[in-house]
């Protein structure tokens, strides 16, 4: 039902476009149209459906160990979900590793519930009827951080290392096209085609970008997580495939999450 509604709205917005005459007004009207569209949907983000399903999955007894995730420690103690996302990634003593939300959830699903790690990773990004439990769980956990300020701490040596590594990776140019994250996200007020690009080295832009992931992507009809965001950026960079939950993905997330500190978390959001 939601998806139909979303597609209808998208068409309505698109239909307005051909009538626009000059280049400049076309651009500002496009921006206005997108803003208006976001307003229309502000009360009915389809991400709600993922959040509800995720809450069910969190509480449901599943896996070979017949357990729920209610004892999973996301960093603030077993079972504490409220505000957990605003302090991730962080160092976890029990694994000796810095982990983001998704690797931590994976750790709990495997360790507490006895679910199959490879299967979860393979199905991390949902497509159509092939729904991802991970995306639903991420939607639920992050929704419990809405309105809470980001406060990722970089204190443990492993956290410092992760942050420093993330910064290096941000500037790492490679591949057939010489692209790095910084190619598109290192300067202010830039666009690719008509899409605005956040400058992730600028505090305000970095905060706005990080606090609006995960997001329901209208163009895909899916809720996408931060791991997906990084995976798909690297695809467009012409890099090989970023391993789900890899150290590089966590380092980059640590760098970007820390740079968003102080801003109120505002996701799951809605994006084009």
């Amino acid at each position: 039902m939601f998806r139909k509604l979303v597609k209808g709205c998208l068409l309505a917005t698109a239909c307005l476009l051909p009538a626009i005459a000059t280049a400049q007004s076309a651009q500002s009207d496009t921006v206005k149209g997108i803003e208006r569209y976001r307003e229309l949907l502000a009360d009915g983000n389809p991400a709600d459906l993922w959040e509800a399903r995720g809450e069910g999955l969190w509480k449901e007894t599943r896996g070979s160990k017949k357990a729920s995730l209610e004892t999973c420690d996301l960093g603030k103690g077993p079972g504490v979900v409220k505000g957990a996302y605003t302090e991730l990634p962080r160092y976890f003593k029990d694994t000796g590793r810095v982990m983001d939300l998704e690797t931590r959830l994976l750790h709990c699903m495997v360790g507490i519930q006895g679910l199959d790690e490879a299967a979860i990773k393979r199905n991390a990004f949902g497509a159509g009827t092939n729904r991802s439990d991970m995306e639903a769980l991420v939607a639920y956990v992050t929704s419990e951080s809405k309105g809470i300020k980001m406060k990722v701490s970089i204190v443990h040596p492993r956290e410092k290392e992760s942050y420093a590594m993330g910064e290096k990776i941000f500037f790492y140019r490679g591949g057939s096209h010489d692209f790095a994250c910084a190619t598109c996200h290192g300067e202010s007020d830039k666009r690719i085609r008509l899409q605005d690009l956040p400058n992730l080295l600028d505090k305000k832009d970095a905060q706005r970008a990080y606090t609006t992931w995960p997001a329901y992507r209208v163009s895909q009809g899916e809720l996408r997580t931060f791991q997906w965001r990084l995976f798909d950026c690297f695809r467009q960079q012409r890099f090989p495939a970023l391993e789900y939950g890899s150290d590089a993905s966590i380092a980059l997330t640590t760098f970007l999450a820390k740079n968003a500190n102080g801003a109120a978390f505002n996701a799951p959001a809605l994006k084009r």
């Binding site: 290096k168 600028d202 695809r235 391993e243």
Partner: protein, 210 residues
């Protein structure tokens, strides 16, 4: 608005990064070496489709340009541009202007070289992703400078044709660490495609110059 663009600082023999922002204290304490970064990259990616792990291996240019503050190493910048200039191979037939119509298609197309693209498929230049070019195309990006009236303002001289073709072939020959891919040097576009793009930029009948 707080800006924390990194600067380069020298701490003993190691290069570390500091910033003018909130994170300065955290950053200076940990230095991550080049080899460690490379190792982490190789461990964290999987080959998929046409994108093998060799894509992660940096050449000297990519390595240099990944270091914030490279601009200050003026002698290195000059040397890099000189070396990259020497890589440019001009067409054997001496003709640099192809068809601007075909060039427009190359400029519009963004497919190619992603692991999700069919291997062996013809890649595009995707020029409009970053540059304004013709007046008709309003969906253009701003990462690169506007190329509107490129030929009209510069003239369709042989020297300008060589510059435009060379810039497309290897952008870093003229501007070290440019964001623009080295389309010829990296084997993204064919000689014919680069000729067509040169025509798109310089042909008086091209929409870029109308």
């Amino acid at each position: 608005m707080q800006n924390f663009k990194p600067m380069l600082v020298v701490a003993g023999l190691a290069l570390g990064m500091a910033s003018a922002g909130v994170a300065a204290a955290d950053r200076a304490q940990v230095a991550v070496g080049e080899a460690e970064v490379m190792g982490e990259m190789f461990r964290s990616f999987n080959p998929q489709g046409q994108a093998g792990l060799s894509r992660l291996r940096q050449d000297d240019v990519q390595k240099f340009c990944s270091t914030p503050g490279w601009q200050k190493q003026k002698a290195h910048v000059k040397q890099l541009e000189k070396e990259q200039l020497a890589t440019i191979k001009y067409p054997a037939d001496g003709k640099l202007l192809g068809s601007w119509q075909a060039g427009e298609r190359v400029a519009q197309t963004g497919v190619g070289m992603q692991f999700s693209d069919a291997p062996g498929s013809t890649a595009g230049g995707n020029c409009y992703a970053c540059h304004q070019m013709s007046a008709e195309e309003v969906s253009f990006g701003t990462i690169g400078p506007s190329l509107r009236n490129f030929g009209k303002t510069r003239g369709n001289t042989e020297a300008m044709q060589r510059y435009a073709y060379g810039k497309i072939y290897n952008s870093q020959a003229y501007s070290a660490c440019s964001n623009m891919p080295r389309f010829g040097h990296s084997g993204i576009l064919t000689e014919q495609q680069m000729k067509d793009l040169t025509a798109l930029l310089l042909d008086p009948n091209s929409p870029v110059n109308k």
